[in-house]
Symmetry: C2
Amino acid sequence: MRQLRATVPDESMLERLRGVVPEVQLSVWRPDSGPGPGAAVDLAVLPYMVGPDYLAHLDGRPVRIIQSQMLGHDRVDELLPAGMTYCNAVRVHESSTAELAIALVLASQRGLSTFRDQQAERRWSRFRTPGLLGARVLVVGAGGVGQQVAARLAGFEADVQLVARTSRASTYGPVLAMGAIWDELPKSDVVILAVPLTDETRGLADARFLGAMRDGALLVNVARGPVVDTDALVREVAAGRLRAALDVVDPEPLPAEHPLWSLDSVLISPHVGGETESMTAAVDRLIVGQLRRLVAGKAPEHVVCQR
Amino acid sequence: MRQLRATVPDESMLERLRGVVPEVQLSVWRPDSGPGPGAAVDLAVLPYMVGPDYLAHLDGRPVRIIQSQMLGHDRVDELLPAGMTYCNAVRVHESSTAELAIALVLASQRGLSTFRDQQAERRWSRFRTPGLLGARVLVVGAGGVGQQVAARLAGFEADVQLVARTSRASTYGPVLAMGAIWDELPKSDVVILAVPLTDETRGLADARFLGAMRDGALLVNVARGPVVDTDALVREVAAGRLRAALDVVDPEPLPAEHPLWSLDSVLISPHVGGETESMTAAVDRLIVGQLRRLVAGKAPEHVVCQR
């Protein structure tokens, strides 16, 4: 059997993983720069935070399995080069993204953005905020992120409801089918978007969806920017009807002239749902697991698409 | 038996409570302004957010029971006028204060202050933050607030340790005695102060305590300002060694010229731990409960001090 080969996108990952799975020869290769990998590659780890168009750099390269460091995989089915298998990063970002969702909810419900603005003016000015206690929270999406959001909300004495593509039971109570949002949106104080970006979820939070939300409610997006109709959201927030906290926007990066920046009741974080210090160890665990499967002659886990 | 009488500090509370306990005659009286209550008062509700010196306004007034809207009661034992009973506001602020503690922890661990600052500059700039996932969190205080903090932390995959005056078992794992902080501080990524202000806790987080915290750790104070030696904290933060998130400071309100305002890695909220929309209903529940006890000839609940 020939030597198994894998590539990683940077030296620091190589340093961390070197020798951990000795049967696999590791080298650094960043598909969008420099020469090819030299020989056939069994598994190529992509850089973090690259969009689906990045897959064009793999076209014609001798790569069997592509391991992404991201959870989302919109348009991979259409852009994956022939002969390749694409795996996403499961159990790397879900907890961290859910944690950020709760951070955004709490910061918004407790006025922390305004307090930070006041801090810049050295101003001590108290006001009452909605809080999360007793609020009704709708979590849209009950996959890895949605479930971790629900797990974290459990301690907050809030009234949490999950909706997803199909209705089912879950550890966090009944999950309603997506059609139920039209009953749920008018009752919810906080709506958290935690769905993958697919043809079905693109533009999900459009003018009708946002219009069904109650006055003063908070929309939190930790999914993907295009799940929200940004123009419709800007209108609702500018009118003072809704508030928002967005880790993902459309477009990204958000251009300096975009109206979202200047809306006081929008809090923006720059797509850092998965970007915590625990990510490195989680990525390493994922890759080591995949390499060990290769050595054992097994198929990789978390296959999203195979062409 | 003579008519029972109670006073409330503002018209809106009177409106909400009028007729709820019909055996008690209710009127508005704010002890620091205007004439006396007119006749003997069985229970006087104080305004929210008044310090212990406020009790001087009750001196010589015909009041039997004083009902505070606050949980903290430092110096009440020394300042309460003779012949009076003082009750604090139990089960009004604990959950809300714990919620703010978690909001401050998450905002700090996920860089939300910096992202808000970047938003003011319309700047999309990503960086990695520590996160809460996998962090070690020390909760100092295991009373109402400390327990609610632990309840909320339970979902976050963090390693939570409670310390309090005396060691004991709890729903949230073993509570260590206060002496254990010298072992715990160097191991903790986040330290949350949730103790009442007493002679024992005044200055608890002094230079030695802060010096024992690990490099880069976060101190969160939702207790009372004087629990922390502010000058010592300013030194540690200015040196880049610690970060802090403070809902309470010493002095309050924080003067515009105070150095805390300008430290980037300090997040300040203006003593709003209990200040959420759910507070009104919780205060009303407390007062109605006390009035019903009076009518039934029972002693009030939550007596802190009696002279």
